[in-house]
């Protein structure tokens, strides 16, 4: 079967930058990029499905390296299915769920459970991240090799950092031998202890215990030092502050194999969003100051921060409509990330091509995936409507989570259609 996406502008970083071409998809794979007026020499038996994407931008499918799907264990917050629906609605063709489920994804059975569920759903690709240590306890290594065979693509301590440097060192050495990247949730728990927002003026005024930048940056520095020691590939998750950006910039300059991500809330909001004890502005690491926000944007611009991930963390109102210090950390992000990130393009901080690098190409490289829009590759394609003005409204979310601080934000641009392996898995209703 053939599909022809007509009329879209193609932005495929490194290959095509803004040319108008039609994309021909055959049996789930990209067959060719052709001139708009070119007739296909298809045989009579081929049925050609045409998608009129005039006015849209076609990019390689977006990849989110950092999500929480809550299944198994906390299905009341999100399931693999609702998370996947939110993902494709947000333009993501691949997502990587973190291991802090219940049970923890620290063994091949849980990995297989997630992978099988994802396959049966047939929405986006779901590539699980395994736990660094068994039960996220920080003591003994999980069976990375076994999990990798079932489809695990990286290891992480997200949600519960490995405090012991020797354990982290061994994890890096072992993972490196298997070709797996290590995703570090860099947080010194002894410094972050009891804190529930950024340590600073707003926290002082509100009387909320703070989490200093140093709780993050000291661990970022540790991970870079350990990456240099072991030669492993380390990816720093959700960078929120200036000192971490500086440390990563320095590490890259030394030739350490370190990559890093930030999330839209860190370049969009500051800790002032907490001002009315808004638990929807509570996440870990916390929203920082304007100075940090600018440093995050600078890090994206100069390439220190390689990717934009969401840290999509759905919670139910049970965890959010409570006292601030008792509320759960985390916000949803899959259905707001693209629009918020496109703001960087509208503000001319990044070109669209560079944004797509950070939301698709660079995460693909970390995962070792080739997702160029070229013949032979799977047709994982996101079609973006760049002119779609809309107001963020959690009532429209496909995710079970409505915990977002972006309610009522007026934004421009969103996914119009998402294709995975040539199949339309999301199409915006008109």
């Amino acid at each position: 079967m053939l599909t022809r996406i007509k009329g879209a502008k193609i932005v495929d970083p490194g290959n095509v930058d803004g040319d108008y071409k039609d994309i021909i998809i055959r049996d789930g794979l990209i067959d060719a990029l052709v001139e708009p007026d070119k007739e296909l020499d298809a045989t009579d038996t081929d049925e050609i499905k045409e998608i009129d994407a005039t006015g849209m931008i076609a990019v390689p499918g977006l990849i989110d390296l950092h999500v929480h799907l809550r299944e198994p264990g906390h299905e009341y917050k999100e399931t693999i299915e609702t998370g996947a629906r939110a993902a494709v609605r947000g333009g993501f063709t691949t997502i990587c769920p973190m291991p802090n489920t219940s049970p923890v994804n620290d063994n091949s059975q849980v990995t297989a459970y997630i992978v099988n569920k994802a396959r049966d759903l047939g929405l986006c690709r779901i590539l699980p991240v395994g736990a660094i240590t068994r039960g996220l306890e920080g003591d003994t290594l999980a069976e990375y090799g076994d999990m990798k065979q079932k489809g695990m693509v990286a290891i992480s301590d997200d949600g519960r950092p490995v405090a012991d440097a020797r354990v982290m060192r061994r994890a890096m050495e072992y993972a490196n031998g298997l070709g797996l990247p290590v995703i570090s949730h860099s947080e010194d728990l002894s410094l972050a202890r009891e804190g529930s927002m950024n340590e600073g003026i707003t926290a002082t005024r509100l009387g909320i215990k703070g989490i200093p930048n140093a709780a993050e940056s000291t661990m970022v520095m540790r991970e870079i030092a350990l990456a240099e020691l072991t030669g492993a590939r380390v990816h720093i998750a959700h960078v929120s502050c200036e000192e971490s950006v500086d440390a990563i910039r320095h590490g890259k300059a030394r030739g350490v194999k370190v990559t890093a991500e930030t999330a839209p809330h860190y370049f969009t909001l500051t800790d002032e969003a907490v001002a009315q004890y808004d638990t929807h502005a509570k996440m870990n690491p916390p929203l920082r100051t304007e100075k940090d926000r600018q440093a995050i944007i600078e890090g994206l611009v100069d390439g220190t921060l390689d990717i934009i991930a969401t840290d999509h963390a759905p919670h139910s109102p049970l965890e959010k409509e409570v006292e601030f210090d008792r509320a759960a950390f985390g916000i949803v992000g899959l259905e707001t990330s693209l629009a918020l990130s496109l703001e960087l393009v509208q503000e001319e901080k990044l070109s669209l091509s560079r944004l797509i690098e950070k939301m698709s190409k660079n995460p693909a490289a970390i995962l070792g995936i080739d997702n160029d829009l070229k013949p032979g590759n799977p047709a994982d394609i996101t079609l973006i409507d760049p002119e779609a003005y809309h107001t963020i409204d959690p009532d429209t979310f496909f995710s079970k989570g409505v915990n977002t601080p972006f309610v009522g934000f007026n934004v421009k641009g969103e996914a119009w259609m998402t294709l995975v392996q040539g199949r339309v898995v999301f199409e915006k209703e008109l």
Binding site: A203, T204, L206, I208, Y277, E323, R326
Partner: protein
């Protein structure tokens, strides 16, 4: 002019005029407490719930007496007797209280922002009796009342606050209140007890207690919480007393007519020397006396303020 607030949540949402009105009303209430029959019918038929989720003796008693002297019916529940221990959420608990139609809910809670959280959800007036490290507005108002009574004014005075500013809701509310009324506030404490950016609330941070109390009209000591030692805030009570305790010698640096305050309960011999606590400049017990009148005023005003608010 009338009091337009449904709730009393913190000092920062009050204007200087609001504060003056509360203090004036409290002065009027004070006389009632000196009568042989200490009761007026002002709030007869009103129900006030005292909902304390943190241990408290004097504040709770003060609110209780204040409500009874205005003839309100008072019901008191605390953590041990509430459903919170059974796993009910705070909002569910107060929504249940609301269903029994109280007029005012007085809440103390260990989480900053808890009073705001429930006030947003409830029709009855909410009076914050202390929320986490955030605010303790009635304490601050009774402190301002006491200072105004002793000094005849607040504007232009120099106030010294010494102690664990970082973990004190009394300090936050008082820095807010006194600066709002035109006083200068100096604070000091060990570095571990000065939170980041405290100057943005309008106070100055002094390097030591000597310079903090220099020429002060009011010296306010905060309680050092011994249990905080596990947070590694100071090496020992002994060292704290020697560096930051209010002694007679240190008090001598303040103005001749300076008064000494403490929100209680005191650690005698730690943050305040015995002789200073019991000295002629100490107004610590008068603070407690004023607390009742001040809380009567707050009940009276929010009950009226709510009534007015209903008309809108």
């Amino acid at each position: 002019m009338r009091f337009e607030h449904k709730d009393l949540l913190d000092i920062s949402s009050l204007s200087p005029q609001d504060i003056t009105m509360i203090l004036d009303t409290a002065e009027g209430m004070k006389e009632i407490n000196k009568r042989p029959v200490k009761k007026v019918p002002t709030l007869r038929g009103k129900t006030i719930v005292l909902f304390f989720q943190e241990p408290s003796t004097r504040t709770k008693l003060s609110f209780d007496i204040a409500a009874k002297r205005l003839s309100a019916d008072v019901i008191s529940i605390s953590t041990g007797s509430s459903s919170i221990v059974k796993g009910e959420t705070l909002i569910d608990t107060v929504k249940n209280l609301e269903s029994m139609s109280p007029d005012i809910i007085v809440m103390r809670h260990s989480s900053s922002g808890a009073a705001q959280l429930i006030a947003r959800k409830l029709a009855p007036s909410v009076v914050n009796a202390g929320d986490g490290l955030h605010a303790h507005p009635t304490q601050s108002l009774l402190d301002m009342m006491t200072v105004r009574e002793k000094k005849g004014k607040i504007e232009g005075l120099k106030i010294a606050i010494i102690g664990d500013i970082a973990h004190s809701r009394v300090a936050r509310s008082n820095i807010n209140g006194f600066t709002k009324m035109g006083a200068t506030v100096n604070v000091t404490a060990p570095g571990t007890m000065i939170p980041k950016g405290i100057e943005t609330l309008g106070c100055h941070v002094a390097p030591d207690i000597e310079s903090c109390v220099e020429d002060a009209d009011v010296v306010m000591m905060l309680r050092i919480q011994k249990e905080r030692q596990e947070n590694i805030l100071f090496p020992s009570e002994r060292e704290y007393a020697s560096l930051f305790g209010l002694t007679r010698e240190r008090l001598a640096r303040a103005r001749m007519d300076a008064i000494v305050m403490h929100p209680g309960p005191m650690n005698r011999g730690v943050e305040i020397a015995n002789i200073v606590a019991d000295g002629e400049r100490s107004v610590i017990l008068e603070q407690v006396t004023n607390g009742v009148a001040l809380r009567m005023a707050v009940f009276y005003l929010v009950a009226g303020g709510k009534k007015y608010a209903d008309k809108d």
